[in-house]
Subunit: 418 residues, 2 copies
């Protein structure tokens, strides 16, 4: 079943409000084995909504519309749908009563206009709204489902989960499996070269490359009529893909690098202290994004000045003078100092030139040193990063997290597909 | 001019990735006096992209497509556009050379597939990409502009700002003025009450409220045929709006709170050190987001453990035991300790419960104390924040920055419209 989602609302079309409803809905529909094939956004105009619905009915097997079901004059979805489907609006006494009942329960005097929400296209099935006033509506147009949901995200989500997904799941009876392998340390093009074209074993499966500053995610979706075949294809695809790229996979699904590292530290019962210069706190911020990270994050030192490096970490003044603050030797002393001063098992040192200024021929913007110290030994690496100040800092932090993950897991510290 | 935006990408259509590009683009187009009348999203399929473009050409005065310009086989936008517009793909030597040059500069061996990005529909004008490899493309189809931008948000934004907006602005010939007042510390509804309905002086102007965890931005756009009238209206609107809300305005345009604070510190010649617990480095990360911040950021202490608070900041063990780590007294000692130990003028202390666990009846999740110490005196405030762990941390950092800004400027420390 191929569905079209139509988002309704001037605030979305103007870019003022991010259309989070669409993303929520698309993911929920996937769980019902329904493929979103088209998405369109139209403003709060009867004509545009009618145009959008007509087109969607033309090409899709089912249509979901969100927004424009409220009581104000710019809420015109019901009218537009009524016109396109040729079903006059009629007062639904049951909906009217539930709107009034809700008003009484909340002890509010409701404006008269709110009762317009009880005017429904003839023959609509009502999906009660458990968190708001506007109900969801299901209409069958020549056996094609047209489903209307309100635009308030909490109401949309509740109605989709409680009514829309169960309804469509029953209707399609199709199976879907998805998985995501998250990689770090190699380029999208290198992954592509390694993975190559998908072969016959992948029948019914598709693979997407999703790059960001957190690495490249590989997402596979398998769908088909037979749940057993879909399951089997998905397993085969997983095994094949994993075998090709496992050297650079750091997590699956939506798990972040900081969560993976947190789990490793918890597992070992080790605590961490980090000393940062160019990342300015971002590395420890990433670590402490994880709930419960106080069990393994002991402290962080943002040693922006040389004085701070000397006093807080015991970096050697001679080394600092001879090699400069951005050097492998200083990174190592920062990692060792953080570890020793905090009295923890794991120390990290990061120093570099985030830019846009401060670079030189010998030490250009994007030059970053990362050092690790742990009971497993010491590591130092030089990175050559590109991009804006923000990008250099993000990549430096993510690379440091990955280096540490590899080090603690006993993997080769340098990411490679081989 | 009515434009259609077509977003291309399976990752968007599946709901895995939020379409932030659309919102960015819609706002930028508004600044070029261009109205976004339709938005559609299609998957990475040549057929679907062609279908989307055909429909858009049918109804819109101009088409902007984002995504699918990369080097992998699922990047098929150029092919689809070439087919619809009847313009064969041709190798563009200039683009090829700039891709190779970029590869050399970054010291990377690039795979051969990357050169497919230099295959352009005949007659395409090339918009150079200042932050990535795939250039933007402009094609005129029966004098209708078809503009292609890559899907990577930083590249899309750079190309839209540097090429697309100036091109469309020149094409439409309408005058536009926009300004943004950034506010922090009051709710959108309070601003709304204070500002009220727009009067006649605002002819041709519109006001948007843009709330985020950085506060509420007030954005005014004035457009018209006559540049002098537009300029005058914009000035009048600015003066009127500023008079109403200046008590909570921290910046104009896109300037962030961390930049404002940096300028104040530079101006005073003061340096800062911060001690953070619940924000875990985010406060100093914000400060060091600013290029050149090493001139005033001396160091940061992420004192996640009690031991770190005692050792690094000299927090009193008795106070810690009697009042707990999340208390006004400990925040004050953290600020004072950071200032004293670093030997700088300004100290900040932040301690709180970011959640989702760790709250209690007396100290619920979202309880945060912020303390400041400077030659101007000492301040401590308690915050009651709501939302996820990430939101609580973001708001704690932003509020601390604003409190410090007000303190250093000699303004009343508590934000108010009066």
């Amino acid at each position: 079943m191929q569905v079209e989602i139509v988002t309704i609302g001037n605030e979305i079309l103007s870019g003022r409000t991010l259309d989070t409803n669409f993303a929520t809905l698309a993911r929920l529909l996937e769980e019902a084995s329904v493929k979103v094939a088209w998405h369109s956004t139209v403003g709060d105009s009867q004509e545009r909504i009618a145009e959008g619905l007509t087109r969607a009915l033309d090409r899709a097997d089912a249509v979901v519309m969100t927004g424009g079901l409220g009581p104000t004059p710019d809420d015109v979805t019901r009218k537009a749908v009524s016109t396109v489907l040729g079903r006059p609006l009629q007062l639904d006494e049951g909906v009217l009563e539930s709107i009034r009942e809700r008003g009484r329960r909340m002890g509010r005097r409701l404006p008269a206009t709110i009762e317009t929400m009880a005017l429904l296209p003839r023959g609509a099935e009502v999906w009660p709204n458990s968190v708001g006033s506007a109900p969801g509506l299901l209409l069958l147009h020549r056996d094609k489902p047209v489903m209307l949901l309100p635009g308030v995200p909490s109401e949309m989500t509740a109605l989709a989960e409680e009514h829309l997904v169960p309804y469509l799941r029953e209707r399609t009876g199709r199976a879907i499996e998805t998985f995501t392998l998250r990689t770090y340390g190699v380029f999208e093009s290198q992954l592509h070269e390694r993975i190559g074209a998908l072969d016959d074993a992948w029948q019914g499966a598709s693979l997407a490359y999703l790059p960001s500053s957190f690495g490249v995610d590989l997402r596979v979706t398998v769908s088909g009529a037979n749940p057993a075949v879909v399951r089997e294809t998905s397993l085969r695809a997983y095994n094949e893909l994993f075998a090709k790229v496992n050297g650079v996979v750091y997590a699956e699904g939506a798990t972040g690098m900081e969560e993976v590292l947190g789990a490793i530290l918890l597992d070992k019962g080790w605590r961490i202290a980090a000393a940062e210069s160019c990342t300015g706190g971002l590395f420890v911020k990433r670590l402490t994004d994880v709930p419960g990270s106080s069990r393994y994050v002991e402290r962080g030192f943002v040693t922006y000045s040389n004085a701070a490096k000397l006093e807080l970490l015991g970096v050697d003044e001679g080394t600092l003078k001879a090699q400069g603050a951005v050097s492998a030797a200083v990174a190592e002393q920062m990692a060792g100092g953080a570890r020793g001063r905090a009295g923890v098992e794991v120390g990290v040192g990061i120093t570099g030139i985030a830019g846009p200024d401060g670079g030189s021929e010998n030490k250009p913007v994007g030059l970053v040193f990362v050092a690790l110290a742990s009971p497993l030994g010491e590591v130092v690496r030089v990175l050559h990063l590109h991009g804006s100040r923000a990008t250099v800092r993000e990549r430096a932090a993510q690379t440091a997290l990955d280096l540490l993950r590899r080090h603690l897991l006993g993997l080769p510290v340098d990411a490679s597909l081989d």
